[in-house]
């Protein structure tokens, strides 16, 4: 059951990325281009998603288990540090450079686009590099 609900959530998320235009790097970069011809569409993508998300997470915060009895796993980190800010800044640079963030890149790969495959392969390499750096810095 949990696999079915997460499969459906992934599918709906992906369809939302396509419908909203967020999957298109050119549209994302037009949103990020404040000095050019600015396309504000992505503000509405965020707004629509957060409007629904606010309701869902308000319900989730009040419950211990989900509607099908799974444990609710909410993040509890509140720390605002160099790691968070530097990491997010790096992510923003990559997002601006290619116009892809992780979700749309995976959907692009699902379209069979070689550019998306290249981006996803490099992104996975970056994630593995993070694991490697952390292992070297903090051996267990």
């Amino acid at each position: 059951m949990t696999y079915l609900t997460s499969l459906f959530a992934g599918l709906l998320f992906g369809l939302g990325l396509i419908v909203s235009g967020m999957v298109n790097p050119g549209k994302v970069q037009s949103f990020l281009d404040l000095a050019g011809a600015w396309d504000p569409s992505l503000m509405l993508v965020m707004g629509g998603a957060i409007a629904v998300g606010l309701v869902a997470f308000t319900i989730a915060k009040k419950r211990a288990v989900t509607f099908i009895g799974e444990k609710i796993d909410l993040p509890h980190g509140t720390k605002i540090d160099v790691r968070l800010v530097a990491g997010s800044a790096l992510f923003g640079i990559g997002w601006g450079l290619a116009g892809f963030c992780p979700g749309p890149a995976l959907v692009g790969a699902g379209m069979g686009l070689s550019s998306a495959f290249i981006f996803v392969a490099a992104m996975i390499a970056g994630m593995l590099l993070f694991e490697l750096i952390e292992k070297v810095r903090r051996p267990k």
Binding site: A9, L12, F13, P25, V52, A56, P75, W95, A125
Partner: protein, 144 residues
């Protein structure tokens, strides 16, 4: 700043946004998990992760979305300006940055802001700010 009214697509943006919000709602209210795509992907990269199947099925859903969409309507043509070098560099820093920053547009931007997390607000303002600056430098200073 000038607004590109001809490129502005308010209704499809809002509709797609609501679909993304519903997907995040299903994942938190059924599976009890946050729809943070970079975190979900990083989780399947760890070997021997016994709790990884919900992640794989979520990612599978994302990957098959274009095929399902294509059954009803022609897929949009994506405009991708970046060449191989820029895609590789961008992918690498997105992979590194989302791990150090513990999230991306979905985890911090959608789910984190919906949880009213200050940490996610700081992350979202940071990556959006960095995205604005990067596109400004690339398009208006370097003229790539």
């Amino acid at each position: 700043m000038s607004i590109a009214w001809n490129a502005f697509t308010p209704w499809s943006a809002l509709t797609g946004g609501v679909m993304i919000g519903l997907a995040a709602a299903i994942l938190i209210l059924m599976n009890g998990k946050v729809a943070g795509i970079s975190g979900i992907l990083a989780g399947v990269l760890k070997p021997f992760n016994r709790n990884g199947y919900w992640r794989l099925s979520f990612l599978l859903g994302l990957l098959i979305a274009p095929t399902v969409y294509g059954c009803f309507s022609p897929l949009p043509v994506l405009q991708i300006d970046a060449g191989v070098g820029r895609l590789l560099l961008a992918g690498l820093v997105v992979g590194l940055g989302t791990r150090y920053g513990s999230g991306c547009t979905s985890g911090h931007g959608v789910c984190g802001l919906s949880r009213l997390s200050v940490r996610s607000l700081v992350a979202t303002l940071t990556f959006m700010g960095a995205g604005f600056v990067t596109v400004f430098v690339v398009r208006h200073i370097l003229n790539w």
